[in-house]
């Protein structure tokens, strides 16, 4: 058999043509088979090349489909693509633009080519179902509801919601954080972090000016709520008669222990995300300036270095380590990270509490309002060293006064003796 194949491969095309004209049925069939096989192989090679091309040259090409209030994605109609005109439907346009802004953020700020870093196409589905109060990532594409018009309105209205959902895909292609308990809360927090950072980047807002709200635009005007969540003040996004007070904790001491099932939001993944959310907000404001600079880079590198079962502690340690790798040991950025986790009740491993407290304080006070960047490493490192030196001085003077007291006591003892 292998010999036949080898022969097939070396038969020149003109000879095959001649063989096809042969009077012998067997010869004609063999020639025909050869030609078909070759054509098929050539086709497959071409097909494979076009697949590779599609993946790398796709560059996150966007397509938005209209579900027309149905629940079946395959029956949705094409509403806007990269090649066509902008839709007259505002939901379609907002989804299309939001996918684009998020894709551009990942490309220009974090050098990531679409959510999978291989140019994956971005498909969005709007007008899903009737009165659908949600937006979700189904593992392959984004789906938006119009809201019931009573509580919620169209979910395409919040850019941070669009970036939140697409970041679920980024997490899936990187750490793959399991969607329950602390890893699930980290998964949710990553989506809120980059959801908010994308919005701040698009508005060119500094960490100090930004609202740090997730889904501020999804409620109807009748609902008394600032947003779905507040990263700046978890637990304070809403407090009304209809659905009570925002249950998000902002400190480990208020970690919510909920059942690991649907009713318990898989251990409160949308609730306990308040803790790492606050840690990111604190890191960004401690460093000062643009959240999409050092803070986003530290978090993104830490996400890539995390895995399926990473917990809060492990993630905090990783951010501390990444801040050191990126900006240096004792840099302002690293101290900012240390202080942030400390403020939400998480002690970075290997840093004694007392030292962390002092260094953290230095990190918080380090040059407020300064724009984050690698060029700040020197000054920041000095801040850390100053804090450490101050502590050593304090300890040395304590030792000195102790030994003085000891000497005095010994003298007294000798005199009495």
């Amino acid at each position: 058999m292998s010999r036949t194949r080898r022969v097939n491969c070396i038969i020149p095309p003109h000879l095959l043509d001649k063989l096809l004209d042969s009077e012998h049925t067997g010869v004609r069939k063999a020639a025909l088979d050869t030609m078909l096989t070759t054509a098929r192989l050539r086709g497959e090679r071409g097909l494979r090349a076009s697949f590779v091309g599609a993946a790398s040259a796709g560059n996150g090409r966007r397509t938005v489909f209209d579900c027309q209030q149905g629940r079946l994605l395959p029956t949705a109609t094409l509403a806007q693509s990269e090649d066509g005109a902008a839709s007259t439907d505002e939901s379609v346009r907002r989804a299309f633009d939001g996918l684009g802004t998020t894709r551009d953020f990942y490309r220009t700020v974090l050098q990531r080519n679409s959510v999978d870093d291989r140019g994956m196409r971005l498909d969005g589905y709007v007008h899903f179902d009737v009165k659908f109060n949600n937006a979700f990532w189904d593992g392959r594409q984004m789906v938006f509801g119009d809201g019931d018009g009573t509580l919620f309105t169209d979910f395409t209205r919040s850019l941070d919601v669009i970036a939140h959902e697409l970041t679920h895909a980024v997490t899936e292609f990187t750490a793959g954080l399991a969607y329950h308990g602390q890893s699930g809360a980290l998964n949710e927090s990553m989506s809120d972090v980059f959801g908010s950072v994308v919005k701040q980047w698009s508005l060119n807002q500094s960490a100090e000016v930004a609202d740090w709200l997730i889904g501020a635009e999804v409620f109807t005007p009748e609902i008394d709520a600032d947003a779905l969540r507040s990263m700046k003040a978890p637990g304070h996004a809403y407090d009304n008669e209809l659905f009570g007070k925002d249950p998000q904790p902002d400190h480990m001491s208020h970690f919510a222990h909920l059942p690991d099932n649907e009713r318990g939001d898989f251990g409160g993944v949308h609730i306990n995300s308040g803790i790492p959310n606050k840690a990111f907000y604190l890191t960004a404001t401690n460093i000062g300036g643009s959240s999409w600079g050092a803070p986003a880079l530290i978090w993104y590198e830490s996400l890539k270095a995390s895995s399926i079962d990473t917990q809060f502690q492990g993630f905090a340690d990783t951010t501390h380590q990444k801040a050191e790798e990126l900006y240096g040991a004792g840099s302002n950025e690293q101290l900012a990270v240390l202080a942030a986790w400390q403020e939400v009740g998480i002690q970075v491993s290997g840093v004694p509490a007392g030292v962390a407290r002092d260094l953290g304080r230095a990190g918080r006070n380090g040059a407020p309002g300064r724009t984050a960047g690698q060029d700040t490493g020197g000054a920041a490192r000095d801040d850390g060293l100053t804090a450490l030196n101050r502590q050593i001085d304090a300890l040395a003077s304590q030792v000195a006064s102790l030994s003085k007291a000891m000497t005095a006591m010994q003298r007294e003892h000798v005199t009495r003796g």
């Binding site: 009737v130 949600n134 937006a135 979700f136 509580l151 779905l228 939001d265």
Partner: protein
């Protein structure tokens, strides 16, 4: 027949946790609505579970729905399906409950 709809999870999961379930008593409905509801319940029950597992899988922020059907004060049937794994029968019943 009493039908209760509970919704869980989703982007607004924390809010869903606080919202009361929606309850409908077929005795309080007009006869044709009650008959329609009974028909949809029967179809959703016979459709069985959706193809996928009840864990979230690869979907993120998807919502899940628990429809409880009580007859004569006794809980008889509990159906749970999610946005990414839903039988057409369950979807039809869900839509009816959402719009009534």
């Amino acid at each position: 027949m009493k039908v209760t709809l509970e919704k869980h999870g989703g982007l607004a999961a924390a809010i869903q946790l606080r919202l009361p379930p929606k309850e409908l008593d077929s005795a309080a409905l007009p006869a044709n609505d009650a008959a329609e509801l009974a028909g949809l319940v029967a179809e959703a029950v016979s459709a069985g579970p959706a193809a996928e597992e009840d864990r979230p899988g690869r979907a993120r922020d998807a919502m899940s729905y628990t429809i409880t059907v009580e007859e004569d004060g006794r809980s008889t049937t509990v159906l749970t399906q999610s946005d990414t794994a839903m039988s057409p029968g369950f979807a039809a019943l869900l839509r009816w409950l959402e719009t009534h």
